[in-house]
């Protein structure tokens, strides 16, 4: 039972302000820029690939080329330097850049020429293609909604991977397994806390406490990742509301 009043909210509840990723991606230091872009690419390449495949109706091979081409341009043309956070959110800016690229994709020779100069990114297109097959059939969402949903899927997926690693490193693998059971696996919700406790050999109260810990950590990681991938407080607030349904001041 909570019967005391604390001085202020837990400082871990929301990540501190830091715009490291966007700033680093614009850094004159090539190594720093490269690291930031790799992080950005890790969150965005799947949404970009799926968006090109489904929204632009490109086949597997062409979508692969265009995805590689897009990120090559991001690196080569310093597209992020032109990004103005006061005019659009980063996610929308990237999607519009993808639209521009695809609309000009008839110039295949130019793409071939650029591709020759740029090292191709080691992106796992086969798994992304497999994910596409698991998507619901033709939902009536617009391009912005589709791209946002795929970005959320990518960001949450990365956050889940990081949560797994962090839980294992802290000896809290069971905490993660419970989150996996209740929030990721289909059908996990049908288990009562008592049944889950028996399955893992712990008390039902421990199930709720472990689950609360994992969910709290998941929330923290998502907000941290999101904070690093947005370019302003306003964008962070809007993205957090879109992704988590929470309003952030």
């Amino acid at each position: 039972m909570v019967d005391s009043i604390k001085a202020s909210p837990d400082p871990q509840q929301f990540p501190a302000t830091r715009w490291s990723l966007i700033e680093a991606a614009r850094s004159p230091d090539a190594a720093q820029r490269q690291r930031a872009l790799e992080t950005l690419i890790s969150a965005y390449w799947r949404p970009v690939y799926k968006y090109i495949r489904l929204h632009w109706n490109k086949d597997n091979e062409e979508a692969k080329d265009l995805t590689q081409d897009f990120f090559a341009r991001l690196l080569e043309k310093h597209l992020l330097d032109r990004f103005d956070p006061s005019r659009a959110r980063l996610r929308t800016y990237l999607r519009v850049c993808v639209d521009g690229l695809v609309m000009n994709s008839d110039k295949a020779a130019q793409r071939q020429k650029r591709g020759g100069d740029i090292a191709f990114l080691p992106l796992d297109f086969e798994s992304a293609e497999g994910e596409l097959r698991q998507l619901p059939i033709a939902s009536p969402t617009g391009p912005e909604e589709f791209f946002a949903q795929e970005f959320a899927r990518s960001l949450f997926g990365l956050a889940i991977d990081r949560l797994r690693r962090e839980c294992e490193a802290k000896g809290k693998a069971l905490h993660f397994q419970l989150l996996e059971l209740y929030d990721i696996d289909e059908g996990g919700k049908q288990l009562t806390y008592e049944e889950a406790g028996r399955r893992f050999g712990i008390k039902a109260t421990d199930v709720t406490n472990y689950l609360a810990f994992a969910r709290r950590e998941f929330r923290r990681i998502v907000l941290e990742e999101l904070r690093s991938m947005t370019a302003s407080d306003e964008e962070f607030r809007r993205e957090a509301q879109m992704l988590l349904g929470v309003k952030l001041a």
């Binding site: 005391s4 009043i5 909210p9 899927r153 797994r164 990721i184 998502v222 309003k247 001041a249």
Partner: protein, 323 residues
């Protein structure tokens, strides 16, 4: 990377947003809604075995200002013990660091949804009077609501009317404040400043907010709530138009641009509505002699009818009397 289905995404969204109730007496049941600064959840109090509503801050609050406002909201509601104001049970901080308070779970309809089932003008005005009651009570205790609107009024299954969401409420005066602040010391969550709009932030809902509320740093008083009540009256009368001039005059006076031209208390506004319901003169509508006579006739229809019948019968008796 872990593949997440659409349903897993939704579950994770809900899980990340849900309050961390681990180690508390509450167990999450469902989400009820999202307010300006906090989410409201239905939870089960496992000790008392009852369902209650839990409001939790869902906004980043690095300076603790919003936490203090949520706690102030809980304290204000707690001091307003009135059947038209939802009672607070408990307040504190959850394990995830977010402040919360629990209150009675109201199972009912918001006024904007309920109003369609109230078809007569008289019933709508009686409903309006029940909204005025808790607001007048709050004013009598030095509390302004500052965000009165149909979606902040609940009508329960037995017709009970509750004014909800006191998140923007303000203490007009708080004689105990100095003493409390000194007890709270440097703890920002214990501190409950009287005015949370010190930085000139505009708080309220357009359409229902008094004009002076839109002015940064403007001093407001109970007449701002009276404007909002006028807007609620207008909402309740929508569809009933054309409604009587006297009623329109009441609405106009409640919604006067200048606070000095409005009713000065909720009781005055409620009294005018009651007078209208009783067929009496209302202070907002000066009547000419003809209007006054016509209203008098309307109010005394039964007596006048009886008198007319009596006169006609007497006349007939005189006319047909054997000579």
């Amino acid at each position: 990377m872990t593949w997440l289905s659409d349903s897993a995404l939704e579950r994770l969204r809900a899980a990340a947003e849900a309050p961390d109730l681990g180690g508390t007496r509450y167990q999450l049941v469902s989400k009820l809604g999202q307010g300006g600064m906090g989410g409201v959840f239905q939870v089960e109090d496992q000790i008392l075995e009852r369902q209650v509503a839990l409001k939790v801050l869902s906004i980043a609050d690095p300076e603790g200002t919003l936490s203090a406002r949520l706690l102030q909201e809980a304290r204000i509601i707690a001091r307003l013990e009135h059947p038209g104001i939802v009672p607070v049970h408990d307040a504190g901080v959850l394990p995830d660091g977010r402040p919360y308070y629990t209150m009675k779970l109201i199972q009912g309809q918001r006024l904007d949804a309920h109003v369609v089932s109230v078809t007569t003008l008289t019933d709508r005005l009686r409903l309006f009077l029940r909204i005025c009651d808790p607001v007048a009570f709050a004013h009598a205790h030095g509390v302004l609501h500052r965000d009165l609107k149909p979606s902040n009024v609940m009508v329960g299954p037995f017709g009970e009317v509750l004014v909800m969401d006191w998140g923007l409420s303000k203490l007009l005066h708080d004689p105990q404040r100095h003493e409390k602040a000194s007890v709270a010391g440097d703890n920002p969550l214990m501190e409950a400043p009287a005015d949370r709009t010190a930085h000139g932030t505009v708080l309220g809902t357009p359409g229902y907010m008094a004009p002076e509320q839109a002015e940064a740093n403007a001093l407001i008083d109970q007449r701002a709530d009276i404007y909002s009540l006028g807007a609620i009256l207008q909402f309740l009368l929508a569809g009933a138009a054309p409604f009587p001039r006297a009623l329109d005059a009441i609405r106009k006076q409640a919604m006067s641009i200048s606070p000095g031209s409005r009713y000065q208390t909720v009781l005055q506004l409620a009294a005018d509505i009651q007078h209208f319901l009783d067929g009496a003169a209302v202070s907002a509508y000066p009547e000419g002699p003809l209007t006054r006579i016509w209203r008098w006739v309307g109010r005394n229809r039964a007596w006048i009818l009886l008198l007319l019948v009596y006169i006609v019968v007497r006349a007939l008796l005189i006319f047909f009397r054997p000579r």
